[in-house]
């Protein structure tokens, strides 16, 4: 049982690293600031959360309480920071052309 928890924690650590790699590749590769935000803000949360779950698997109360606190804080502040960056981009240099897409226009 203890060995199983260790392998599960290994899997969570590698999942987190793959998520963070995908996030950084998206930030490197996307052409626009909005699409860069789209790549970073979601995957950053899902890259930190498996590490926190791997910390919680130890079963110690000090790890669990601090991991819950960090998880709640990341979950609250990452969208706010992404919104601040997007708002700064939109106010200083608005996008030139925004077309509304509807389904019946094909």
């Amino acid at each position: 049982m203890n060995e199983l928890i260790s392998w599960l924690a290994d899997l969570l650590v590698f999942g987190a690293l793959i998520m963070l790699t995908v996030a950084l590749y998206g930030v490197f590769w996307m052409p626009d600031i909005y699409t860069r935000l789209h790549a970073s803000s979601k995957t950053a949360v899902f890259g930190i959360a498996p590490l926190l779950v791997a910390l919680m698997l130890s079963g110690d109360a000090s790890f669990i309480s601090r991991a819950l606190l960090i998880g709640a804080f990341i979950l609250l502040t990452t969208p706010v920071a992404a919104h601040a960056i997007a708002r700064a981009a939109y106010e200083t240099d608005p996008p030139k052309r925004i077309e509304r897409w509807t389904a019946d226009e094909g």
Binding site: L17, I48, R66
Partner: protein
């Protein structure tokens, strides 16, 4: 707790990700992309601190991680406000 060799590989990988994001901080195409890359760099340092806490089995690194999360959030907000208005406190 994960195995030790997995944690070694993971810490090296996280340091490589941190180096790439620091290169993006310098070479971003615009100022806001640089701010975003700096935010990503703090996320990478946060993940590295969590891996360090897993590796050393100490919960004190998590306090440092929480402080880093708070300060990076404030730093991102201050940088975007400076970009938008030219000043932080108006």
């Amino acid at each position: 707790m994960p195995h030790d060799f997995v944690l070694s590989i993971a810490i090296v990988w996280m340091v490589i990700l941190l180096a790439v994001s620091l290169v993006l901080v310098i070479a971003g195409p615009s100022r806001l992309a640089q701010i975003l890359a700096f935010d990503m760099a703090t996320v990478m340092i946060l993940g590295g601190l969590l891996l360090l806490a897993l590796s050393r089995r100490s919960s004190f690194d998590l306090d440092a991680a929480l402080m880093l999360a708070i300060f990076s959030f404030g730093g991102t907000l201050a940088a975007t406000r400076y970009y938008r208005k030219g000043t932080i406190f108006s």
